[in-house]
Structure formats: structure tokens, C-alpha cells
């Protein structure tokens, strides 16, 4: 298993952002759904090793990120796209992706090819030498995805990756996710249920810091059937029904 969480919590003051999450995930695309403030981003940040848990056990790629050596090894093999992607306005797309490839300790000889592959994979080849400050929001998001996949990660964590992408880009991004999920564990946090339906083999629904549903997208759809829950699509109805049952 690439991800093993056991009763994981994260507290901010008196508020529990993540309140006892237990889950396991191997290779595949794993969707994390939930309303705003459900704890998706905090959970993802803990898995990205930027936020330590308050309690519970966290194992990533078979290692404990609480110690320096294992944490460094995890980070070499990790790809992360935060919800709010900060960027250096004066960097070009290639410089930005290359910077993070170097920070991930990739062998310098492999970096130029890996950068070119990642930039092409997200369809930014024609903007490779454009400064980041000149790019649209969707293009910046794609640059962020490129830096996340540049090291061919075994664990890829994407927080709202499709925000700002147009429908065509979203479709090709989902196809890319399916490809990546063949050998890596990809966790996608999103509030767009159609992303989950199209790309994810497993889905967890979070609410108030807890996982209130875990299963396949088809099982989530089944939750909504005949429930009378609100939603325009079967997955949306399943989402609403699972949330209503948990509250």
C-alpha cells in the first residue's frame, strides 16, 4: 500500500480539520470528494508531508514521514499540487518545472528530458518559454501539474487540479490521470463529481473531518438511486444522499 492512514487527526486550535481518518490506497486514481471545509485539503497536506498530524499513524510509500530520512525519500517520489499554487512570476514554464525537479533531488542529467516530457504532457509545449506572469489561470494550473508529475511520482496528490481548466483540457487531464494511475497512487481532491466519475476507480467522501463514504463511483451512484436526493447527475445524487445519511 502506498498510503496507510490509521485514525489520523489534525487539529487547529480547538477545531478538528481531520477527525480520525483511516484508509489505505494502492496504485490507482483515488477521488476525495466533499463540501468546502470538509478537511480534504488538510488531509492532502498531511499526505504531502507539509502538515504533520496531531495524532494517528501515517505511512507513505511504506515509510514514516515523521523522521527526516524516510521523509526525504518520500518527498523524492512524491508529486504535489497545492490548492493555492504559488509561482515565481519571472520564471518561464520550463524554469519553474525544472526548479522543482531539482528540489526533488532528481539526477541532474535526467532533468531536461523529464521537464520536456512533463511540459508536453500537460500541453504547454508552445508556452514552454513563456514567463509565468503572462499565462492564464488554466495554463498556470497546468504548469503546476507539470511540476507535480516531473519526477514520475509513485504518489501524486492533486488538490483541485481541474480548477480553471476548460472542458477540453479537463477531458485530456482525466485521461492523463488514468494513465498515471496505472502505476502510481493518485489522490485527487475535488468538489467536481464529474472528475471522479470520469477518472477515479475509488472515491471517498469527507464531511466534518471524517470519511463518510468509501467505495467505487458506481457504488456512490447506487446510494443516490431512489433516494430522492438533490442532483442533476447520478453521481451528484449519490453524493447528496451519502452526505445526508452522514449528517
Amino acid at each position: 500500500m502506498n498510503i496507510e492512514l490509521d485514525d489520523l487527526t489534525r487539529r487547529f486550535g480547538k477545531t478538528y480539520a481531520v477527525a480520525g481518518v483511516t484508509m489505505e490506497a494502492g496504485p490507482g486514481v483515488f477521488g476525495l470528494l466533499g463540501p468546502n471545509g470538509a478537511g480534504k485539503t488538510s488531509l492532502l497536506r498531511m499526505m504531502a508531508t507539509v502538515l504533520p498530524p496531531t495524532s494517528g499513524r501515517l505511512q507513505l510509500l511504506g515509510r514514516d514521514p515523521g523522521s527526516y530520512g524516510p521523509r526525504r525519500e518520500i518527498r523524492r517520489r512524491l508529486g504535489y499540487l497545492p490548492q493555492n499554487l504559488g509561482y515565481y512570476p519571472g520564471f518561464t514554464v520550463v524554469e519553474f518545472v525544472e526548479y522543482f525537479a531539482l528540489l526533488k533531488d532528481m539526477p541532474p542529467g535526467q532533468v531536461p528530458r523529464a521537464v520536456a516530457r512533463a511540459v508536453e504532457q500537460v500541453g504547454l509545449g508552445d508556452k514552454a518559454r513563456a514567463k509565468l506572469r503572462t499565462l492564464s489561470g488554466g495554463m498556470l494550473r497546468r504548469a503546476g501539474i507539470a511540476q507535480a508529475i516531473v519526477n514520475d511520482p509513485e504518489l501524486l496528490l492533486l488538490d483541485e487540479p481541474t480548477a480553471g481548466l476548460d472542458p477540453e483540457q479537463r477531458v485530456s487531464f482525466r485521461a492523463m490521470l488514468r494513465g498515471l494511475g496505472e502505476h502510481a497512487t493518485v489522490v485527487v481532491s475535488t468538489h467536481l463529481v464529474e472528475d471522479v466519475g470520469a477518472a477515479c476507480s475509488q472515491v471517498s467522501l469527507m464531511d466534518a473531518g471524517k470519511i463518510v463514504f468509501h467505495g467505487t463511483p458506481a457504488e456512490l451512484v447506487a446510494r443516490g438511486e431512489g433516494s430522492g436526493a438533490a442532483g442533476d447527475a447520478p453521481l451528484e445524487r449519490g453524493y447528496s444522499a451519502a452526505l445526508a445519511a452522514a449528517r
Binding site: G13, E73, G86, Y87, L102, D105, P112
Partner: protein, 240 residues
């Protein structure tokens, strides 16, 4: 698609398929490849880490504009010292270095801070390397400027220890408040207060850099501030 292969005669047979995507990636890698400058190559060799070297050369207070500004301030200090006899370089240098250190590292000035925190190169190593580089460069520039004024050795070298304290204060404040500007303000204010207090007590403007009784307090203060910065940049607690 097929690619060119060895032509055995007038009727060439089928040639092996070529993965054009792979070829293009190779071409793009060469065309887009960034050539690191001399300073970055040297830093990569010294630090044994191209990532750390890259993080070092993009330090805001090591960029050309900042370095030019530092030289201009110190040159103005040299000229002012020649004109008045007051060792302004020794008074300016700690303030300039403190500002540089505050702008060396931290979430307040690194837009991709969170992303960088998820990578293998340790944030503390970046902090250490950047702070040492900025400190070293400012110390060297200040010493050259100070020597150019022809001041006495006590003045020429006397400001190095206070500079350490000012830099540590600026760094600690910048990391605690997550704001480079707050670090600059604290460093400058601290130094101005030290200089004015020295003047009030000893009656001379340079007392803050020439009074040997202050060396130990400066070093102690620097150590405390350094410890604060080190503590703040640890892996945070599980609750905040």
C-alpha cells in the same frame, strides 16, 4: 511514421518505426535546457546539490539589483566618511546586511513556499545556505568599503559582531512573523537603538561598534535570535 535508416540499395526495405513523441521530447529537452551560470555551477559543486544551488541563486537579496543597491549604499557611506570623518560605512553595513538576511528566506517572500516544503531539499538547509551566503557577501562588501575609508582597525572590523546580532534579529523576526518587511524593520530599528544608546551612554556615535564590552552581549543576542529562527523553522507541531 517511419524514420530514416541505413539505405542498403536502390530498393530499401521497411525501416524501423520511430517514436516521434520520444524524439520530440529529446529535441525539446535540448532546446529548452537552461544553462546554469558560473555561480550556480560553483554552488552546485560546493553544496553537492543542484537543487540547493538553484535555491541559493534565486535568493531575492542575492539578485543583481539588490547587490547593486548594497554597493551604492556602501559607496555613499565611503564618500560620507571621507567628507565628515564619521565612520558611516561601519554604521550602514550592519543595517544593509540585516535587510538582506530578512529578504533571504521565508514564506513571506517565497510564493511557492508550500510546494517547496514538500520537496526533498530541506527548508532549513535552504535557510542556512542563503543566510550564510548573504551574510558572507555583505561582510566582504562592508570590509572592502570600510578599508577604503582608511578607518582604524577597531572601526573597520568592529561592526562585524554587531552585524551578526542585527542579522540574527532580522532573520528571527522575519521567520516568526512570516514577513520579510517585519524582519527589515526589526533589524534596522534594533541597530538604530543600539547606535543611539551607545551615543547616549559613551557620548560617541561609534560606541556601538568600538566598545569591546558589548561583544559578548551582541554574540549572546545573536545566538538567542538564531535559536528562535531555528525553532520556528522546525517541522511544526501537530496542533496550531
Amino acid at each position: 511514421m517511419t524514420g530514416a535508416g541505413p539505405n542498403p540499395g536502390p530498393f530499401p526495405g521497411p525501416v524501423p518505426d520511430v517514436d516521434l513523441s520520444r524524439v520530440w521530447t529529446g529535441v525539446a529537452a535540448e532546446v529548452w535546457r537552461r544553462r546554469p551560470g558560473r555561480a550556480e555551477r560553483l554552488a552546485a559543486w560546493l553544496l553537492r546539490s543542484p537543487g540547493l544551488a538553484r535555491a541559493l541563486v534565486i535568493t531575492p537579496s542575492l539578485l543583481l539589483g539588490w547587490l547593486i543597491a548594497t554597493v551604492v549604499v556602501l559607496a555613499a557611506g565611503v564618500i560620507a566618511t571621507w567628507g565628515t570623518g564619521t565612520p558611516y560605512v561601519a554604521l550602514f553595513a550592519p543595517a544593509v546586511a540585516g535587510a538582506g538576511i530578512a529578504y533571504a528566506y521565508g514564506p513571506g517572500l517565497d510564493p511557492a513556499w508550500e510546494l517547496a516544503q514538500s520537496t526533498a531539499v530541506s527548508g532549513r538547509m535552504v535557510l542556512l545556505v542563503r543566510a550564510l551566503a548573504v551574510f558572507g557577501l555583505n561582510a566582504a562588501a562592508g570590509l572592502v568599503a570600510s578599508a577604503a575609508t582608511g578607518a582604524a582597525a577597531a572601526v573597520t572590523f568592529g561592526w562585524l559582531v554587531p552585524m551578526t546580532a542585527v542579522c540574527a534579529l532580522a532573520l528571527a523576526t522575519a521567520t516568526v512573523t512570516r514577513s520579510a518587511n517585519a524582519g527589515v524593520a526589526a533589524g534596522l530599528s534594533g541597530w538604530v537603538i543600539a547606535v543611539l544608546a551607545g551615543r547616549a551612554i559613551a557620548g560617541q556615535l561609534t560606541a556601538a561598534i568600538t566598545d569591546s564590552a558589548l561583544l559578548l552581549p551582541y554574540l549572546l543576542f545573536a545566538a538567542v535570535c538564531g535559536a528562535i529562527a531555528w525553532y520556528v523553522t522546525r517541522i511544526p507541531r501537530g496542533a496550531s
